[in-house]
């Protein structure tokens, strides 16, 4: 068996070297396909992060009547924390509300000076598990004893959520499409490589090589090409992060435009795996026609 592995390794290396042009073409096709996929994946990660940070800011504000009894206030707390849609509930007293107000307008003391510290209502701020549930939760709380008003983003928030939903759907479609394109491009390259060596395959069949013996060098080659392609694609994406995204992030601080190096490493392994799977399946499928005789 050791001798056979030797043969496969020799054969793979010498084929890759002998067909330098074909190998280059194959590796660049794989790189481009995986690059496309990687860009969509990284772009998707950035967008998803942005979208979730917007969605995370969506809160319900339950303003309490000044004359609400401590029992009513406590009852609202119990009711909201008991709701399955609710993630977390914070209480904000009148004093805390005034402090917050002062902090917001600390550069214009004229505004705060004229405000009675008692004018701002106490409230519960409710974080939801799914921001889309804001409306039903709000309508359930509206009119409860002790509740003055329930505020949530309303129309503006609905539009934001609709937008983020569309963004997520487009992302899924883009990933499916680029993955499909990668499969087709890589499969086609494999087919070209096999076609270029059909004579060799014919002779192997003739002298009695088993199908597995014929397949293995192609699968080895596909794997090496996939690995090189994934490496090139990931390197380009990493360069894109360092010279593109990171600089943009420095310029636009309020948007979370970052991708961590860790997620690029994770993406490299994902691309590697995808490349190898496509390589192995693609060459097995493409060889089938030549192995039939």
């Amino acid at each position: 068996m050791a001798l056979r592995v030797n043969y496969f390794v020799d054969e793979t290396v010498s084929n890759l070297r002998r067909n330098v042009l074909l190998t280059l073409a194959a590796v660049s096709t794989v790189s481009i396909s995986l690059l496309l996929l990687g860009v969509v994946m990284v772009g998707g990660e950035v967008l998803t992060k942005m979208v979730s940070s917007w969605e995370g800011k969506v809160e319900l504000n339950v303003f309490l009547r000044d004359e609400a009894t401590p029992e009513e206030v406590a009852a609202i707390k119990t009711q909201t924390t008991g709701m399955p849609e609710v993630e977390e509930v914070f209480f904000e007293s009148k004093e805390q509300a005034f402090e917050e107000y002062k902090r917001m307008f600390k550069d214009s003391p004229a505004i705060t000076e004229n405000v009675d510290p008692n004018a701002l209502p106490a409230s519960y701020r409710i974080k939801l598990k799914d921001p889309n549930q804001a409306e039903p939760v709000a309508s359930r709380l509206q009119g409860q004893p002790g509740v003055d008003e329930v505020q949530f983003g309303g129309e503006a928030m609905k539009r934001l959520l609709k937008f983020t939903g569309v963004v997520r759907t487009i992302l899924v479609i883009a990933i499916v499409l680029t993955l499909g394109a990668a499969v087709l491009l890589i499969a086609n390259t494999i087919r070209l490589g096999i076609y270029a060596r059909r004579k060799e395959i014919g002779i192997m069949k003739l002298v009695g090589a088993t199908n597995w013996f014929i397949r293995v060098p192609f699968i080895f080659e596909g794997t090496v090409q996939a690995a090189l392609g994934a490496l090139v694609a990931s390197a380009l994406i990493y360069a894109g992060k360092v010279f593109g995204l990171d600089r943009m992030q420095d310029a636009i601080l309020f948007l979370p435009l970052t991708v961590s190096s860790g997620s690029i490493i994770r993406m490299f392994f994902t691309l590697l795996l995808i490349g190898i799977v496509i390589g192995v399946f693609g060459s097995t499928l493409a060889l089938r026609r030549f192995l039939e005789v």
Binding site: L3, R4, N6, Y7, E11, R18, K199, E200, G202, I203, M204, K205, L206, V207, G208, A209, T210, N211, F213, I214, V293
Partner: protein, 227 residues
Amino acid sequence: MIRLENVSKVYKGSVVALRDISTDIQKEEFVFLVGSSGSGKSTFIKMLLKEEEPSEGTIYVAGKDIGQLPRWRVPYLRRNIGCVFQDFKLLANKSVRENVAFALEVIGRPKHIINQRVPAIIELVGLTEKLNSLPHELSGGEQQRVCIARAMVNRPPILLADEPTGNLDPSTSADIMNLLERLNESGTTVLIATHDHAVVDRSRKRVIELDGGKLVRDQVRGVYGIG
């Protein structure tokens, strides 16, 4: 060694290539399969290799009904049959030695066997000088010798040749036939499909003649034809 019982072959599109052929080729025999172009010679050879299946009838190779052979056993059948073709089928980017060694490598033979057998068979076909030449640096006759060396390096009991002299001039053809006869004398069963009159008439071996897919003659010390 090779036996056909009532074998017919109809290609899809209803081309009848062979009709009801029965014949028997003994171990260590030397047989010519003759007939004009399209008479079914190549089809005959392909069926022995299981590249084509007979539409009817049974084919035995080395006593075994190859129709019963499962697909995964076909490579092992082919290891017992050496093959030579009109167009040589050599790999252009491999040297003489590499082309011959390839036949052993791809059936998983160990290196020490390859290192021992390849130079020996190349010497037998008289190409030791050209060991490291590429196919395009060789004459047609030399290329056919490489092809024969590749067919014989695994020491198969049977050698099939489809028009082996089809691309060669008469004197080179005679050299190749001498080589094939020598291989036959050392124990290989040889079947040669050809429509080369000179080659057949010179050897005076058994001749099986096909005409339009029918076996029309089987003669022990034959010539190509009356005409």
